[in-house]
């Protein structure tokens, strides 16, 4: 009986041992995985715009470019896979906003609101304001030149938690339908200009390509510069107001801190 009890106890102990071995195996692997794992915190400021690829000749001049509160912060995990190469995955929360004022000439626009469409060629000024608060996940291949310099390249995926795109065409005129159509003057007050709001037309899930460099001047502190080039159109495919597809193109500079 006692023997039996003892045996049972031993069995139990063995089982616990196996469990222990199993978990220590996982732990060991995790340990192995994490032993050279690096993590970084980032805080940056972005500057850029949502623009067509290749400026159409109809866009004549940038009158104003007003800096926006484009903060970007997040954490990255970096797993080295060889002496020089690594894989980076992060989560960033950022705002890609822009406020520009541009002059255009004979620029095709088609505005649809409530099932009604106004189409024509606009010559004058245009003031656009965009806001996009996004959660962005970059997945990047990292190349370490040395302890200070890192180059990062890879796609990113963004989900917009809140966004807006509005503005107005002003101080100019619209030729309805085509350049021979009725000429409608636009002034500069709220009632005299062509106001628009395309909030509902913005694509919520976006992706693109990111390229960046990190430079660490101490073991813990560094600076970074990233360029994030949107490859999915800013607006949904059904959006017909502008002839060109707009892509968010933003550069970010900031400070990086090596957490581990």
């Amino acid at each position: 009986m006692l023997n039996a009890w003892a045996t049972g106890l031993t069995e139990k102990a063995e089982a616990t041992d196996i469990e222990h071995n199993k978990s220590s195996f996982v732990c060991q692997n995790l340990k192995n995985f994490f032993h050279n794992f690096e993590s970084y915190g980032r805080l940056g400021y972005s500057i850029g715009g949502t623009a067509p690829m290749g400026m159409p000749a109809e866009i004549r001049k940038l009158n104003k470019f007003i800096l926006q509160p484009n903060v970007s912060f997040g954490v990255d995990g970096l797993k080295p896979v060889s002496e020089r190469m690594g894989v980076l995955v992060g989560i960033h929360f950022e705002n890609k906003a822009m406020h520009i004022d541009a002059s255009v000439k004979n620029y095709h626009m088609q505005i649809t609101q409530g099932g009604q469409t106004l189409e024509g060629m606009f010559t004058g000024k245009n003031d656009s304001h965009a806001v996009q608060w996004t959660f962005t996940i970059p997945i990047q291949a990292v190349y370490k030149f040395n302890d200070r310099w890192k180059l990062k390249v890879g796609p990113y995926f963004s989900y917009l938690t809140s966004c807006n795109f509005d503005g107005f065409a002003y101080d100019g005129y619209l030729r309805v339908d085509d350049p021979t159509g009725a000429k409608v003057l636009l002034g500069s007050t709220e009632e005299e200009r062509g106001n628009y709001d395309f909030k509902d037309e913005i694509r919520k899930c976006q992706w693109g390509l990111g390229v960046g460099v990190d430079y660490f001047f101490t073991r813990k502190f560094g600076v970074y510069a990233d360029l994030n080039w949107g490859l999915s159109g800013f607006f949904k495919g059904s959006f017909k107001t502008l002839d060109q597809t707009l892509f968010p193109i933003y550069g970010t500079i900031g400070i990086a801190y090596k957490i581990k």
């Binding site: 866009i59 505005i111 040395n146 636009l186």
Partner: protein, 388 residues
């Protein structure tokens, strides 16, 4: 430690190139427009050819493709050389300043844009205007058609004293089309009333201008119709000036009469869509005679904001309180109130403009009224006194 690595420099240059090549501004495109903006006739003896010197110059509205010079009855129009101001870079054939025999009918000009991709045709006509003795002007609204450019809304023609059809009736329908491009002809603010008092009449309805209208703080469009021109270029900016009231008249109007029905809708709203439960919409029916030149001899057109208040007004006849008529036709017959003495010499120089105005919302010009208010009008008569 090497501070910079060649690869990084290469990447930086690549990124910089990518940004600059896509964001630099291209060469300015050539003009695509091809308008006649102004037309004028230069003649040696202006007084012998024209009733008024200001008739020698015409500012052409962007939607017009007929340019009409009004000359004296006996003017020689066999060798006139109209000159034109056209869009920069555009070309015109036949050439500006070339002489033509306008007694053979209108001459067609073609303007081609600087970029060569667009062209417009204009007809230029030289009318010799004779003074008819008119005892009564009749407006029965029987001559209407779809607008020839868009085929979207109705336009009306008046009958001229010689029996031909004129283009003196105008409405804001074209402005409405800017915000409501999908509207059907009978959904426009100004449309045909199939059963008027006698034959067809005109149905004026205050309409919503939809999302696009709301965004530019012009949420309603009152049905309107008037003798004059609608200049769409001002529909967004100086909206009051889009309605150019008046056409020259060669008679002294005495009485203004006709038939109407009115039905106010609710709620009454303003341009910000604020509702006013205590305000009731009303229609407006009036006729104005005014001097079309100021004291310095400059040509004058009265607009929405001064057609009832200008110092140049000579006479007014306005229907009081165009309110609910419960489906009945109401007859009005009003005498013109003369504020200035009528001068036949001025009349003979085409110095008086005359208008008749209907609106389904009396404050419609400032975008106040009730969506759905309707004014029906028909059988308008203007009785005139004619000098022997």
């Amino acid at each position: 430690m090497r501070f910079f690595n060649n690869n990084i420099i290469a990447i930086a240059i690549f990124a910089l190139l990518a940004v600059t090549t896509t964001s630099c501004f291209k060469e300015e495109p050539l003009n695509a427009e091809c308008d006649i903006e102004k037309a004028w006739l230069h003649v040696d003896d202006v007084d012998a050819m024209f009733y008024s010197a200001t008739d020698t110059l015409i500012n052409v509205i962007s939607t017009e493709d007929k340019i009409i010079f009004n000359l004296r009855d006996g003017a020689d129009i066999t060798a006139l050389a109209p000159q034109f101001a056209i869009t920069a870079g555009a070309t015109i054939t036949p050439a500006s300043g070339s002489a033509h025999d306008f007694s053979q009918g209108p001459v067609t000009y073609t303007v081609t844009s600087e970029d060569g991709k667009w062209s417009r045709k204009y007809t230029v006509q030289c009318n010799r205007v004779s003074h008819y003795v008119v005892a009564e002007m009749n407006f029965d609204f029987e001559h209407f058609e779809m607008d020839p450019v868009f085929n979207k809304f109705y336009i009306w023609h008046n009958t001229l004293p010689d029996g031909s059809l004129g283009n003196d009736w105008a409405s804001g329908n074209e402005g409405f089309k800017l915000s409501m491009s999908n509207a059907k002809p009978d959904e426009y603010p100004t449309t045909v009333l199939m059963q008027g008092y006698d034959g067809h009449g005109v149905l004026l309805t205050t309409r919503s201008t939809g999302m696009l209208g709301k965004m530019s703080k012009k949420p309603i469009a009152a049905g309107n119709m008037f003798l004059g021109k609608f200049d769409i270029s001002k529909a967004m900016t100086k909206t009051m000036e889009a309605t150019e009231f008046g056409v020259p008249i060669s008679a002294k109007p005495l009485r203004f009469s006709g038939y109407y029905q009115y039905s106010p809708a609710s709620p009454f709203i303003d341009k910000n869509f604020v509702e006013y439960p205590n305000r009731v919409d009303a229609g407006d029916i009036y006729s104005v005679l005014y001097l079309n030149h100021d004291a310095d001899g400059n040509p004058v057109v009265l607009y929405g904001d001064n057609v009832l208040s200008s110092d140049l007004i000579v006479a007014v006849a306005r229907v009081k309180n165009v309110g609910e008529t419960h489906g009945e036709w109401i007859h009005y017959d009003i005498e013109y109130q003369y504020l200035k003495e009528f001068d036949y010499t001025i009349m003979e120089q085409r110095g008086y403009n005359f208008t008749v105005v209907f609106s389904s919302s009396i404050e419609g010009a400032t975008f106040e009224g009730a969506i759905g208010s309707t004014l029906k009008v028909d059988k308008v008569r203007v009785t005139c006194e004619t000098k022997e």
